[in-house]
Symmetry: C2
Subunit: 490 residues, 2 copies
């Protein structure tokens, strides 16, 4: 029992020090480690395995909607960044620059891609000639670099892994449709696979991507009440098409600039996963992305027949398509319970001589901390059912928590108090940037997304509270233009 206590104590208090809890969890569960260069992280096998599941599932959704993967170069000529005015302003301060290569100083410095709009724009200009070449629907899985002073594994690192989709279309409508389709795919993925309920909607001018006409975001509430931007989808209009001269000969015989979109999501989603579901004991992983779904812990494993029964059970579950491991190390069962609870494995199965004699097993649900007794017969069907159950329960629980923490505010004080107490805020906004900036500087809350009052598109989130609650701007008191979701954010 003392060992169990040690485990719990090793992780900082989730209520009192959430940031430290997060760091303890990601390091102690061996998801990541710090790299030797400041700002970098190593994704260890357990962490990378989550990313692999994310990639697999998400990639299927991309392919099903007609996208193809490709790979563009890491290095971008420094001059490319300058071609789109807002883009360079947004990214120039955080790029890493290669000035030497092959033992010589380079004539033109190279930028390590912070994102690939520019280099892909250059290639599209070359590849696109006619309307027959459109649309181009390409996605890339890659590493990108954005220099950071601080390091927060998964949340803020100089290099991170992501996917970035880049599409080109003949018309505005089609490009916008694509932008919103991808927003919907992100929402679906986060909710169905990561069990994270999200708000989706348009970003304000202040919060949009550097170079975009419009940015749409996916925002999730973390357990500390802060919001984590989990994916974004951008509509560029003809901004990049004009900057890189991406033209096509249309069916009407005229040369036109294309309309482009881009959309991205990254290993940040693993951060979202941890901060949505984790608890004092450590990680809680949704079954669909858990590297190990079931851990079998033998009880009195030296007794005759135990390890044999464990092996049989393991192969039974494995053959049913369940990701299962058995922990046959020399550690005590209590130590193993803690270890695997900390690592967030959704289900534990305990199997000892008494269970074998009674043809039963004891299951332990990581999410509800509940024990369940099951017959060994057809255990694989029950386990599958339970895993589906856990997946749903995690989503439901996160949704309930979020619903209880969205507050309507009509004054700046109400807004500040609400976010300071770990809430999201629904508030009216006049649409002026100065009000948005004042709110940010007074309360540290930013506009996360504009809520959709008029059901413009099914993919946008509507205000959780009746819109009658917000008639004026929370900052200046003038008539509101939008209902906005405000929150402190990662």
């Amino acid at each position: 029992m003392q060992e169990e206590k040690q485990f719990v104590n090793a992780i900082a208090d989730i209520e009192k020090n959430f940031p430290q809890w997060f760091t303890d969890v990601v390091i102690k569960t061996k998801l990541v480690d710090y790299g030797p260069v400041k700002g970098t992280m190593v994704m260890r096998p357990y962490g990378y395995a989550i990313w692999e599941r994310i990639q697999q599932h998400m990639n299927k959704m991309f392919v099903a909607t007609g996208h193809q993967n490709a790979y563009f170069p890491l290095f971008i000529p420094a001059s490319f960044l300058n071609k789109e005015k807002e883009h360079v302003e947004g990214f120039a301060p955080e790029v890493a620059v290669v000035t030497m290569a092959g033992g010589e100083k380079l004539a033109e410095p190279l930028i390590v891609r912070p994102t690939s709009e520019t280099v892909i724009g250059e290639m599209y200009a070359k590849w696109i000639q006619s309307y027959r070449d459109l649309p181009i629907l390409i996605n890339q899985w890659a590493n990108v670099v954005r220099w950071e002073k601080t390091t927060r594994p998964f949340l803020r690192t100089s290099e991170f892994l992501w996917q970035e989709g880049h599409t080109a279309h003949a018309t505005e409508e089609e490009a916008m449709q694509e932008t919103l389709q991808m927003l919907g795919i992100y929402k679906k993925f986060l909710e169905e696979y990561l069990a994270i309920p999200v708000f989706t909607g348009q970003k304000t001018e202040k919060e949009k991507f550097a170079g975009a006409v419009a940015t749409f975001g996916v925002e999730a509430m973390m357990k500390d009440g802060k919001s984590l931007q989990s994916a974004t989808s951008h509509y560029f209009g003809q901004n990049f098409a004009k900057a890189f001269d991406i033209q096509f000969l249309d069916a009407d015989g005229k040369h036109k600039h294309v309309y482009t979109s881009s959309w991205g999501s990254s290993t940040r989603m693993i951060g979202a996963l941890i901060m949505t579901h984790g608890d004092q004991r450590g990680l809680i992983l949704p079954p669909k992305v858990a590297p190990i779904q079931v851990i079998i812990v033998p009880i009195m494993q030296k007794k005759q027949g135990v390890l044999e029964a464990v092996a049989n059970l393991k192969s039974k579950l494995h053959n049913a398509g369940i990701r299962v491991e058995a922990d046959q190390t020399e550690n005590t069962p209590g130590w193993k319970f803690n270890e695997w609870e900390m690592k967030g494995v959704p289900l534990r199965i305990e199997l000892g001589p008494r269970d074998i004699a009674q043809n039963k097993v004891i299951l332990f649900r990581r999410d509800k901390l509940e024990k369940i007794e099951l017959s060994l017969d057809s255990v694989e069907e029950k386990v599958k059912e339970l895993l589906e159950n856990i997946q749903c329960a995690l989503y439901e629980s996160a949704l309930m928590r979020r619903q209880n923490r969205i507050v309507v505010a009509n004054t700046e004080k109400e807004l500040k108090d609400a976010v300071d107490n770990g809430n999201f805020v629904q508030a009216g906004w006049c649409g002026d940037r100065s009000c948005e900036e004042q709110i940010k500087s007074n309360s540290a809350a930013s506009a996360r997304v504009i809520l959709d009052e008029t059901n413009k598109n099914v993919v946008f989130s509507t205000p959780p509270h009746p819109i009658e609650a917000n008639t004026v701007c929370v900052c200046c008191g003038k008539k509101k233009k939008h209902v906005v979701l405000f929150a402190k954010a990662y």
Copy 2:
């Protein structure tokens, strides 16, 4: 018919100008394009799709042998490279260096990884404490950068995609076993999936990896008779363990340095694929890695019922697990035939009104340029059989060609004449570096692998000709120490 001729003519003559043929094929089939920075390439969807198949199959083989994937940082402190003497000498001339980041000059320049032994060594030193932590069996899929003056897509580019495995073991035997196991996996992968017969064996001191105790290579004969090193596996002994102080407490209570290995293969394999199987019409892709295995070309597609029959056939084949597409563009059938032959799709199916009336289809095998008539009933079974057939036939054909082009040489002149005529050479070698260097400077041929005369290990290739044929060093005429495979190489 004129269009067909245009197609053929667009690709340089494979016999007269093999390098230009290669470049024409990779660009015209849209496998790749040149990136804006000299030395870089873009992998377009058709090329990247081959890489994805390679990754999938190879990754399964890695996982089946107990390896886990992880991800290490792109940037390595410049000082790390200096820790292993031979390693820095090998890589320093070709690294790209980041000197500026976040708008400031960096205190210590950062190297963009040319390979990750050093940064992984640093992490392993931290992660490994006890013999219980061993072995560590990690693989990484990543991009690496080695600065190049010339650009040859897939063969020589400043940035390329690869996998690099890095393992640490308690004993020399285990580390060597791992090194050779991975050599065997590469051989199996190249032969079974890429249909490329290979020679495997130890490299000479001159040709080994910078920092290794021993390097083992996988060499394939291209259609021009040159050899392409398609994968390598390195045994490091304790070189990196000592450089990075990777120690463990062994069961006997003593602190010891670990033994490490690394092994890698890259997008170069796609180059090998093209130059092993391609012909004057373009690519020939082995079915196991072909992005499209079957292309259906409708004949008289505007006639009633044709596109419906095409759709039915496509879904029948798709449901049987075959990667199938139908080309319903407005191009003529002749144009389509050429296009898909150039793109190397293993099987073409022609389907028109007459075929539909007769309940049959015409198949065309890309490898043998043969037409086959088949009943539409149970066509999916026949197609599957044919795809397996093509996979084998490609391997057999490459093997036959190679067998006819391995020559025994006992003098430098014989060796030079043989490699100049596009052959591999089996020759005796005294073991002296000076002879190896002289051979290289006189004939441009290098020692590809040392052949295994004594069946040391089943994974090594034995000499194709009787070893009695080589008793002396092909260079100095002294008694031979080894029988070596010499060839010009990419």
